[in-house]
Structure formats: structure tokens, C-alpha cells
């Protein structure tokens, strides 16, 4: 049959967000794939050059709306590195706890979208329902559901609400029970396994060379987790295990993310128990010194980086944002070629696309 370019256009239920995948199809098998991004490009780096350091905080939230707290925290770390500020102990533990809750909420959002793509409406509904618990926790801590604006340069916005620790420990117990139930729901169904095992295999060398980071990289067998290998905040004091899986197919990415949710529950417990009393914020100066600042954080989707160049005024001279999804999508062709049209959904769903950060 003649080769045919299919345009899985900007508006397509499979694309969670706005990007376009042009695949060349010979019958049902894919012979060529060309992702196209840029539909959500808001020119954030240009906007940031005309705003003061504190005005950029809400913008950093809206980079990736799936895990906005981790991008807010990444921006604060970058500017703290530029200004050379040391964040107090309590703020570090508070940030770690909030980041891990955001990771669980982000992974549950991914699980909901992934199940809906494969046609499993029940997976979408259960994951959405359980995500609401963590959204409520973060709402009690920060005040809003999606874009939190919780971190400040030099610490955290405000202290913990009363009995926040009790609620979050209860939520973690509930989550661990639920994930056992998800294992039966997902791996129990033969159809789910048929759609996932051996689909979209990414070998270890390809993953490393193509710049894939985060869960898809660890699913290909590379044991690299920024929280462990280049620790920041109070992660060195917390013991947890980075999750890897040797296969590198869609099932491996699913397993890595499910196990990471369990790890996050453990981290939240340790962080909340070890959180010392005391100040939760240090006042930062208005103008940043001349120099550069680098922030490198393990975002639920991969390695988020920011590089800021200060020029002595209260506005950054240049703020460069490295988005994990922007680079992982460029590796889409290697994962897609040779599989069926129906597998595009499973493979692209496995990458947990968040176009907000990819297009900046």
C-alpha cells in the first residue's frame, strides 16, 4: 500500500496538550515519525528578561502545569545558587515533602491519561479520584489546586497548616493500599499487558545518547536519579531507592512510575518526621550579583535544569530553561518506527508529555 503521511494534529485525544505527530504509515506499521512542537510557545524566556526575580515566580509555575511545584522550586534553587543563599533546614524538608506529593499527583495524572489512551476508562476515573486526595493536601498547604507558587527565593511561602502531618501520613497509607489495588487492575488484565509488553523498546545506549531522562531513562536500565546522584535540598538525609527496570518498553515505564509513587510515600513520611522546628524562610536581597546560577532538579518527567545569568540589576539578564519533554520528544522517532499505529498511543502516552514546559 502506498506510504501515507498521517497528521495526528494539534487537536487529537492522544496528544495531551498541543503537539503534532506526523507519521508515515505503510498499512498499519509506522515507517517514519516527525513530532512538531511549538503550538504552545509563549516566549517565557523573553518575558522573564523583563520581570524582576520575584515576579518570575508565578511564570515558573506555569511552565509545566502537571508538576508546577517542581518548576517553581527549580527556579528558586537556580536564583539561590546565583545569589549564594542557604535555605534553612525546615524549608528544605518542607520543600522535599511538597515535591514528593507533587510527584505522586503528577504520576497519577499520567496514569489517568495513559489508561484513557489505552481505552481503559476505569483507570482514568480511579487515578483521577485518588489524585484529588493529594491535590487537597497541596491545596491546604499552598492555597491553590494546580499552580501553587509555594516556594520563595530563600525558603518557602508559609508554614505548615495545623495537623498537616496527620493528613499526609493518612494519605500516604491510603495511597500505598491503592497502588496494590492498581497492580491487580492493570497487570491483572491480559489486554493491558498485551498492549504494553515489548512495545516501544528504547535500548540503554539510545536512551542515554538521545538525552532521554527521568522515568523513561530509568526504565531502560540506567540507574540515574538526580535526587540520589546529584542530591539537593535534604535528599541526602532521606534513604530511598531509585527504581530501574531492565526492559525499556512501555510496561517498564509503567512499572518505574508506579514504584516511584511508593518511594515518594516513603520519602514524605521520613521528611515530615525529620522536619525540625525553626525559621522557614530567609530574606533574599533585591538585586542579584553579576554571575551565573545553575539549578538541576529531578522533575517527575525527567531532568529539569535552569541556567540564569545575573547582571547586578533586579532582573535576570538571561534565563535558560531545559525541559525534559522537549528532548524526550525528539527521541520519539527511535521509539516509534516499526510499531503499529495503535502503539503510537501507548508509546507517546508512556512519555508523560507536558507540552507547557516543552514549548516554553
Amino acid at each position: 500500500m502506498a506510504e501515507m503521511w498521517i497528521n495526528m494534529g494539534p487537536q487529537h485525544p492522544m496528544t495531551h496538550g498541543l503537539w503534532n505527530l506526523r507519521i508515515k504509515v505503510d498499512g498499519e506499521t509506522i515507517t517514519d515519525a516527525e513530532p512538531e512542537v511549538g503550538y504552545l510557545h509563549r516566549g517565557i524566556e523573553k518575558i522573564c528578561e523583563n520581570r524582576t526575580y520575584t515576579q518570575i515566580l508565578p511564570i515558573a509555575d506555569r511552565l509545566c502545569y502537571g508538576a508546577s511545584l517542581s518548576w517553581n522550586h527549580l527556579y528558586c534553587r537556580t536564583v539561590e545558587d546565583l545569589m549564594g543563599i542557604e535555605v534553612p533546614e525546615r524549608a528544605q524538608y518542607l520543600r522535599v515533602a511538597a515535591l514528593e506529593m507533587q510527584r505522586i499527583a503528577s504520576h497519577l495524572m499520567w496514569l489517568a491519561a495513559y489508561a484513557a489512551d489505552l481505552g481503559m476508562m476505569i483507570g482514568f476515573i480511579y487515578a483521577m479520584r485518588d489524585r484529588e486526595i493529594f491535590i487537597d493536601l497541596l491545596q491546604s498547604l499552598t492555597g491553590s489546586r494546580i499552580t501553587y507558587n509555594f516556594c520563595r527565593i530563600g525558603g518557602v511561602a508559609h508554614d505548615v497548616p495545623p495537623d498537616f502531618e496527620r493528613d499526609s501520613l493518612r494519605a500516604c497509607d491510603y495511597m500505598e493500599k491503592k497502588i496494590r489495588e492498581y497492580y491487580d487492575l492493570y497487570e491483572g488484565s491480559k489486554v493491558f499487558m498485551m498492549r504494553n509488553v515489548g512495545v516501544g523498546v528504547l535500548t540503554k545506549e539510545d536512551a542515554m545518547n538521545l538525552g532521554v531522562t527521568g522515568p523513561p531513562l530509568r526504565a531502560s536500565g540506567v540507574r540515574y536519579d538526580l535526587r540520589k546522584d546529584m542530591p539537593y535540598e535534604s535528599y541526602p538525609e532521606i534513604d530511598f531507592q531509585p527504581i530501574t527496570h531492565p526492559d525499556g518498553d512501555c510496561y517498564a515505564r509503567y512499572c518505574v512510575r508506579m514504584e516511584e509513587m511508593l518511594e515518594s510515600c516513603k520519602i514524605i513520611r521520613q521528611a515530615l518526621q525529620r522536619m525540625p522546628k525553626g525559621k522557614w524562610r530567609v530574606l533574599a536581597p533585591r538585586n542579584a550579583p553579576i554571575g551565573t546560577g545553575l539549578g538541576r532538579v529531578e522533575d517527575p518527567r525527567g531532568e529539569g535544569m535552569m541556567y540564569v545569568v545575573g547582571d547586578g540589576t533586579d532582573r535576570p539578564y538571561r534565563l535558560k530553561i531545559r525541559s525534559p519533554i522537549f528532548v524526550t520528544v525528539s527521541a520519539a522517532k527511535r521509539m516509534l518506527v516499526g510499531y503499529k499505529v495503535a502503539d503510537v498511543v501507548a508509546i507517546m502516552g508512556g512519555l508523560d508529555m507536558c507540552i507547557g514546559e516543552a514549548d516554553r
Partner: protein
């Protein structure tokens, strides 16, 4: 007093009423014209004419009852999905009757939508496809009797459509042709792939399906629904032909395009599959007909395997038939909402490698049972 006599009586009463007026009118007119009026009156009251209209009335009654059931199916489907998914389902539309009017609102809204025919679409095929799809699906209802007395009969002593089972499955098999035409005619890549997939899916599931039907007919000894159900008087065919029962249900999933085999309208990959370009009432027809085929699947399963209207006598026959059809439909919905979608090549593998041998084994069992004389 079966449905035929009932509708015959109504038509007869109606014709008499009109004839009185007609003859009175005829008597006023001068000679030639008056005779013409008398001849028309006599012809109207003749047996052949009344029986034709009786059958038409039968079809209307049957169709209306089934449509009400299909609307009920849609409501049950959304309410049951709600219960499975922790939310209410339709609630505020038709508040006091639990949201039952939601389907009516969905259907009627589509009446007032603008009718769009895509510019480069092949008009003839685009307009023909819904007609065939809906027509063939509704034709199946004519063949499926709810009970000996409640079926489309052509004479008081008639036993339904002579080869009812064959006719039902023939009508069932026309739909993929119309899906292919719809997919091709709406000039859109997604619908083309959706149409191809549905043709491949139907082909690979038609044969195991008909093998199971063959095994039932071998045991029952006749092609008409009445003989099949009467033969199940002692034991339902689901008991001896368990393999056939399971294979039949799986094939019905594929024929009616329910979730595990939902390929032609795969939500996530092909936008809406072959109904992408249809809007307004044509899309309404497609949606309503897919539930109608859901009912037909349920009805065929109950008629062939679960002993259609056979049940303890305190509930009349048709009600038994409908109860079983509802139960089968709920089970189909249960699987529909909890299983992900199968890929097209896995689907074909299941069809050819798994279901085909099972269906043949089931046919052998049926022949063995028949030759042993137990049935």
C-alpha cells in the same frame, strides 16, 4: 391471542368504522360513482388488505417496544458506568426519574444540528452509509421473537420468520459493508483506517460466530427461533455448549464493537473512527444504532443459549426474554468499561488462532451430543 390476531382485530375494527362512513357517502352519489365507492369499500374490508396492514401495525408495535428498550439500555449503560466509576451518571435531566430523559435530550438535540456534508466527501456513499447501517440493524429486530405469541407473524398459526436465525445473522453481517463505505466516503484518513479495521475485524469474527450458531442449530434441529427456543425447554444450550457460549459472547463483542474490540471507533487513536465526519442526526442514528446492535447481541445470546422466553410461568414469556437480555447487556457493559482496547493484529490473532479452533471443537461436541441422541 398472539400479536397478529391483536393487530388484525384493530385494523379490522378501524376499517369497519371507516367503511360505514364510506358506504353512507357512496349511497348519496349518482350510480357510476357510487358503485366505485362500494368496490373500494369491499376491497378495503377484504382479508388480504387487512392482513397487510395488520403486519405493518405489528412491525410498528414491535419496533416501538424495542426502541423504548434501547433507550432504557442507554440509560442503564450510563448509570451502571456511573456506579462503576464512583459518580452518578445522568442525574439532573429528568430529575425525578433518575436522569432517564438524558438520552431523549441527546437524541433530540441532534435533530436541530446543522447538517454538514464535507465538501470533498463522496456524497452518494456518505449519504448511503447511515441508511444501510440503520436499516440492516433494525431489520434484525423483525426476526427476533420475544415469545411465541409476541412476534411478527403473518398468519394466526404462523411460527415467525421461517429461517429466523439465518436471517438475523445475515442482516448482522451487512453493517461492516456500510462502515467501510462510510469510512471511504468521508474522505478523511482516520475514517479510512477506521473503516479498514472494522472490515478486518468483522471478517475475522464472522466465522467463529457462525460456527457457534451452527452448533446451536444442530442441537435444535431447525433454523427458526421458535424451534431453537423450544429445544431448550429441558436444558439451556449454554449448559452443554459452554465453549460455544463463551466464544459466541466474545464474537458478539467484536461484532457490536464494544470496548475490548472497539477498534473502528478507537477514541484515542482515530479520533472517532469512521463516524468522525458525521454530524447532526446522522451521527445520532449511528450512536442509537450501536446501542440497538447491543440489544440485538443481548437478544441473540438469550435466544440461542439462554432459552429465550422459557422460565417459570409466573412471569410472562416476553418479560423473561427482556430480563435475560438486560442481564446479558449489563455484563457486556461491565467488560466494556473495565478492559482496555486490543491492537488490530492481536485482535486478528485472537479471532483466527484462539476462537476458530474453540468454535470447531464446540461444533464437534454438538454433533456428538446430537448423534448420541441426548437432544
Amino acid at each position: 391471542m398472539n400479536l397478529y390476531e391483536f393487530s388484525y382485530g384493530i385494523i379490522h375494527w378501524l376499517v369497519d368504522l371507516v367503511n360505514h362512513l364510506w358506504y353512507w357517502l357512496g349511497s348519496w352519489l349518482p350510480g357510476g360513482l357510487g358503485d366505485f365507492f362500494d368496490d373500494v369499500g369491499n376491497f378495503a374490508a377484504s382479508h388480504s388488505n387487512i392482513s397487510v396492514f395488520a403486519i405493518v401495525l405489528e412491525a410498528i408495535i414491535m419496533f416501538v417496544i424495542i426502541l423504548v428498550n434501547v433507550l432504557n439500555f442507554i440509560w442503564i449503560d450510563r448509570k451502571f458506568m456511573g456506579r462503576m466509576f464512583d459518580f452518578y451518571g445522568p442525574y439532573y435531566v429528568g430529575y425525578r426519574i433518575g436522569g432517564w430523559l438524558q438520552n431523549l435530550a441527546d437524541g433530540m438535540k441532534l435533530f436541530v444540528k446543522e447538517i454538514i456534508v464535507p465538501a470533498k466527501a463522496d456524497r452518494f456513499g456518505y449519504l448511503l452509509a447511515p441508511v444501510i447501517f440503520v436499516g440492516s440493524s433494525i431489520a434484525i429486530l423483525a426476526a427476533i421473537p420475544l415469545s411465541p405469541k409476541f412476534a411478527i407473524l403473518t398468519s394466526p398459526t404462523d411460527t415467525g420468520v421461517p429461517a429466523g436465525v439465518l436471517f438475523a445473522f445475515a442482516m448482522f453481517a451487512i453493517a461492516p459493508f456500510s462502515i467501510l463505505v462510510a469510512g471511504w466516503a468521508s474522505n478523511n484518513k482516520y475514517t479510512l483506517i477506521g473503516g479498514m479495521r472494522s472490515a478486518a475485524q468483522m471478517m475475522s469474527y464472522e466465522i467463529p460466530l457462525l460456527l457457534c450458531v451452527a452448533s446451536v442449530v444442530v442441537l435444535a434441529g431447525g433454523f427458526s427461533f421458535f424451534e431453537v427456543v423450544e429445544a431448550q425447554r429441558t436444558v439451556w444450550f449454554a449448559i452443554p455448549l459452554v465453549i460455544g457460549f463463551v466464544v459466541f459472547i466474545i464474537c458478539m463483542f467484536a461484532e457490536v464493537e464494544v470496548q475490548p474490540f472497539d477498534l473502528p471507533e478507537a477514541e484515542a487513536e482515530l479520533v472517532e473512527g469512521w463516524t468522525t465526519e458525521y454530524s447532526g442526526m446522522r451521527f445520532g442514528l449511528f450512536m442509537m444504532t450501536s446501542y440497538l446492535r447491543g440489544y440485538c447481541a443481548g437478544a441473540l445470546i438469550t435466544a440461542l443459549f439462554l432459552g429465550g422466553w422459557i422460565g417459570p410461568s409466573f412471569i410472562p414469556g416476553p418479560i423473561w426474554f427482556l430480563i435475560k437480555a438486560y442481564i446479558v447487556f449489563v455484563i457486556v457493559e461491565w467488560a466494556r468499561w473495565s478492559l482496555p482496547r486490543v491492537r488490530i493484529d492481536q485482535l486478528l490473532n485472537i479471532g483466527w488462532k484462539r476462537l476458530m479452533p474453540l468454535a470447531i471443537v464446540n461444533l464437534m461436541i454438538a454433533v456428538a451430543l446430537k448423534s448420541l441422541g441426548w437432544f
